[in-house]
Amino acid sequence: MAARCVLQSARTALRTVQSELSSKGLFQRTPGFSQLSFLGSRGLRHVVEKKDGKMTVIEGVLEPTSERPQPPNPTASCPIYRWNLQNKYNYTDVLLLSQFIRSDGGMLPRRITGLCAQEHTKIVICVQMAHRAGLLPDHKPPLPEGHVPKPKSNPPLNRYLTRYSVKSVKPIYKTGLKWCKKRMSVGHPALKNNIRYSPKPLYIQH
């Protein structure tokens, strides 16, 4: 599937280049395009034009990637599995979560980031919890210009591991007897497989 995408991208690149050439109508079309470059690895390329007299060679050259640390498991499809971070991250790992969010706090789509479905939902849950805990103060949606925020009557309350949004939750007026108590949920069951170094189990219903 990745190879098909690469081939498609190379074909569209070639098509745009050919359409440009035909519109200009000045240069000969060279038969010897480097057929091998789009069978290589994915990466960013820039267009390079070379002229030898009447012949023009237009090629997409792979850019040299800067020296970045290599993932321990490069053959996996999901970035979390590539770096072996499954079941190891939480809402506090803001450096990890900030790589998958936009500047106004929303999530980047799965087809862009390449995450698998389960990890994408886990990241969404952790990002929501981090926003509600106030750990991402700079990723707020931009306010319209000239907008003066109203003075808040209640200062914001500190919270963490909030599963539901603040406005959607109703108070539990009747908690019930011990055997049928209405519990308050903390954290999220999607993160129940996270590695725990203490013998106590994860305590989700308080």
């Binding site: 995408c5 970035p79 450096l95 790589q99 103060p137 909030t162 903390v186």
Partner: protein, 204 residues
């Protein structure tokens, strides 16, 4: 200590200490359990329920406690004076707005033993909503207890070196940027554009 004289050893064993706890960004239940242990004197090997050997506990920054989950909205404190029509139910958020020390006070009251010594132990608990403490209490303090919960760091508190040291898990390619520009109304994030070494894009 064996090197102390008898009177000094006696004094060190039976003196009433004053503990200080900072409750900012801490869950009130954990703070209350620490307080109740020290108010009863259960942290001392000479403990007995009848001997009044509890210590004083001073809790500051009770206004900045942090509940886990949605407890600010879900937890309800009920009270009834006995007269008809006086059943009041307040959520934790409303209670905290009315009195910033009430949540910890009620939590400690519920954790102490349910006997007559409870009221004297509550008198030895001193709660302050902010970190402004009166002078006479400041002079009495002997020990500060560590906070039970590790406060997580915000993204703005990380230095640029730490952010650079953390590797990028995924990198965008030209094709991805093209899809983004074609399909999304949201403009492309500057952070995503900054990962490209040189800003050479197809459709500009």
């Amino acid at each position: 200590m064996s090197s102390f004289s008898r009177s000094a050893q006696q004094w060190a064993t039976f003196a009433r200490s004053w503990f200080l706890i900072d409750a900012s960004m801490q869950p009130p239940g954990k703070i209350a359990s620490m307080c109740s242990v020290r108010l009863q004197g259960k942290h001392k090997p000479i403990y007995h329920p009848l001997s009044d050997i509890g210590d004083h506990v001073v809790v500051m920054n009770t206004r900045h406690i942090a509940f886990s989950g949605n407890k600010w909205e879900q937890k309800v404190y009920s009270s009834h004076t006995g007269y008809p029509g006086s059943f009041k139910q307040l959520t934790a958020a409303q209670m905290h707005k009315k009195d910033p020390t009430a949540i910890i006070k009620l939590a400690v009251y519920g954790m102490l033993p349910k006997n007559l010594t409870r009221r004297t132990m509550m008198q030895r608990l001193h709660l302050f909503p902010d970190d402004v403490l009166p002078e006479d209490i400041l002079k009495n303090l002997t020990e500060e207890l560590p906070q039970p919960r590790e406060i997580p760091r915000k993204l703005s508190e990380y230095t640029q070196e730490e952010r650079d040291a953390f590797p990028m898990l995924w990198t965008p390619t030209n094709k991805v940027i093209q899809i983004w520009k074609e399909t999304s109304q949201v403009p492309l994030d500057q952070r995503v554009l900054d990962t490209i070494p040189s800003q050479k894009l197809h459709s500009e």
